[in-house]
Assembly symmetry: D2
Homo-oligomer: 266 residues x 4
């Protein structure tokens, strides 16, 4: 007979456990929400410093104002106010490669470079050398280095130095952040211009240094964004703008003739 | 010219604010994730006791094992592993009236009773009288009282007394929890049997006492569940069961002839 | 041992059946897509006249230009171009009570009136009497009659007479359409003004007359809209507007101070 | 002032157009649903033969029984029966790289090979030579050729020859199908074993030969699947199995201790 093993939630008539803990006695009232999310994802209880870095990342990613995901959640709620879950899910679906993907891409990129290197550099000069080699290689193959550049914060993303600082305060600036910092130092020599290390990329580096599963780095950005989207809905309830957004598009539509796309692909 | 006001995230080239705070300096590293989620939803910073109650609720709702939502997230990831956002969104879409709705229904129910009563009862006897009246009225109209009963924890949901305890410790057991507790005391006299106050309903009462928007109570259950679903995905990555779940259904399908549903509705 | 019966798709190593038919030989190349969708929903093959009415309804609902659902699909694709399924799913999530729900609400409303009446009226005068009684009753209880009124087509929705005509041509104007037509005739006498029967409501009446499951009337609107949203994506690919929509909101955001929502609900 | 051009739906108080047509007069009752979906995606009206091939593809992809997407839709409806749109959207979210992606992958693969070749082969021998070269190249680089092989139909997918037949009957077997057929003939010589051309891949080739946008091939699979998922919901309404599926998992869960994933990625 098939059974389905899990270390997550389980119930008996008289008890509920979560991650092997007594939910009521040992989790509720004792474990913060960021701490719990970390624990659920790794099945180990994080240390307080890890929680602080993790929650700093979540704060950095929670809300960026009227992003496509925020607009989508508000418009979906306008259209289907009976389904809060639908409005949140629709917003999260924008969390793909372009707007929320930098965190994951950057974490994976750094990881791949590091995983191929043994032993790791022992000092800043060593990290700089590895970074230089990496940026050259990416440039030569025509790829953009993940985490470099920001369309608004051209002279520096305020989240970046702060996250480095927090990670260092907690003794949690590991190889991913070290390599990312080195890329920040050396890339102008290769690319011929200075780009900021963006906050989303730094978040990816910090999450990877925390040992979180690389496949799910995007998931943490989505968790943070869920809180942000609830904030968007709460604001929409009190100060609605979705209908005006809708009308600003609909009233400015311009009817044009069809443009047949009938060419064969061959 | 139309503009779109918001107190949430905003950026200039050199700064990022969130809820009027400097994101990097005053939120990152300073504000926990549960605290931030509360703040985003209410636009006011919660007191530490409020955060503790709020996070206790989130812990109570984060994961209940192999619920439909958990199975859905795992199956969707099996089918579309390229899209973590799709797997999480699919799971959240099960957060509707039946499985995650009790929290919202119960919070609203208690609120509606309370809103129609001025002044509120001043002591336990007063709450009992109001509860008795309410349960009688609901019974007379053939409706089920939200938050009463649990299919597994028939003799008591362990989360319920714990959440009452935490709320009282923090001085945050307000009218919604008071009325709910009274319903727990008086309903056997009306219904002729004793049902437990379930945890999901207690969560709704506690969230309502925190002053969170009633329209979004389901949203907080979904936020908690997002963390749980990330845990489900993390476990699926290391110890996959989705394919076995799929096969257990697919291999046991039994082909039957169509059953036409051709009758007119008239 | 549990098994799971189904009359839908089934496979053996050498054959595939769908609805009891040989998929390759008897469905592919033989059954149109509208016909197949009807068949899947009812498990009976529709007659050609039923297919024509059904496809006319789908055409009426497929696309209405820059609706919230269309904007949502385009924005989600902008944000996550790697996931066409996410962009379509996000758009469909707006198919709730407000924008796509009229079809379902109207079909159910008409059904409920008809189900409570036996025998049904035998002539137009009889339908008018029933309609009059119904509109009076709804008005007295302060409810809006579903399917009446349109914010753009104030003097008549062009889809309405056309759908009645098609249903009559095919001999498929049954009790739901008859009652709806009667409501169109009698409501001015009760409401004191003349409102158009809107197209979405007429679609609901026509689908109900086809004997389709009332619980899924919204589903057919969503099926139609899926085709429309693919059209939106195809146009977005060739003539993108999503980024301009996003910027028109983001660049016009106005940062305001938080407005605490701290009041207790009690 | 920004405006948003579109050739899709547009309204004035007295008229509705779609794709430049009068919706009521010239689309409703005149244009089948498959035909309309094609027209929306290409902005040109397809010929009857194109509609037949297109609808054959949709039939081939509409429903495959208890796939993960079908199970997900049923479970989501169980959990949130108030939201048909959520149940359909959740099912579609499984339409990613693994289960519905073959159609798109195969269409793109064939297109890329063809686009790099000018002139195209003039006869079967020429196609075989191109196919041989292509399969060798893919094998050498360790990639699997899309559209080859099926886990159930090991000796041949019944949909494949049927779709080739229909395309030939309509004079619409173009370069993508020609190359795919040639791959079917030559691959055993390279791979050392004979694999069937699967139906999903053949659908991708046929859609590409119809000139449909390659970026949206997955979208047509999702359109087909929307009809199938409505069929799944209709069957679930009359003969529910979702709760049994849920219980078969939940009752067979086995609680295990957490397995910390605490290793650093470095």
């Amino acid at each position: 007979m098939t059974d389905y093993p899990t270390a997550l939630g389980a119930s008996t008539p008289t008890s509920i456990t979560l991650l092997g803990q007594d939910l009521a006695a040992d989790v509720m009232g004792e474990v913060g929400f960021g701490e719990l999310a970390f624990w659920l994802a790794t099945q180990r209880r994080p240390a307080p410093g890890e929680v602080r870095v993790f929650e700093a990342v979540l704060a950095a990613l929670a809300d960026h104002g009227f992003t496509p995901t925020a607009i989508v959640t508000r418009l979906t709620y306008l259209s289907a106010p009976d389904s809060v879950q639908g409005a949140l899910a629709a917003g999260l679906l924008g969390g793909g490669s372009r707007f929320l993907g930098v965190t994951e891409d950057c974490g994976r990129f750094l990881h791949d470079v590091i995983a191929a290197r043994d032993p790791l550099p022992a000092d800043e000069a060593g990290w700089d050398a590895l970074a230089l080699e990496t940026v050259r290689e990416w440039r030569a193959s025509g790829r953009r280095v993940p985490g470099l550049g920001h369309h608004v914060h051209k002279d520096g993303d305020p989240r970046t130095p702060r996250l480095f600082q927090i990670a260092r305060e907690e003794g949690l600036a590991g190889p991913h952040l070290s390599l990312f910092a080195a890329i920040g130092r050396v890339h102008p020599a290769v690319l011929g211009r200075t780009l900021p290390l963006n906050g989303a990329g730094t978040c990816g580096a910090a999450l990877a240094d925390l040992g979180l599963p690389l496949e799910l780095l995007r998931g943490f950005a989505l968790l943070a964004r869920t809180a942000g989207l609830i904030g968007q809905l709460a604001e929409e309830l009190r100060r609605p703008v979705a209908n005006e957004i809708f009308l600003s598009v609909d009233l400015n539509n311009r009817s044009i003739p069809p443009e047949p796309n009938g060419g064969s692909h061959g």
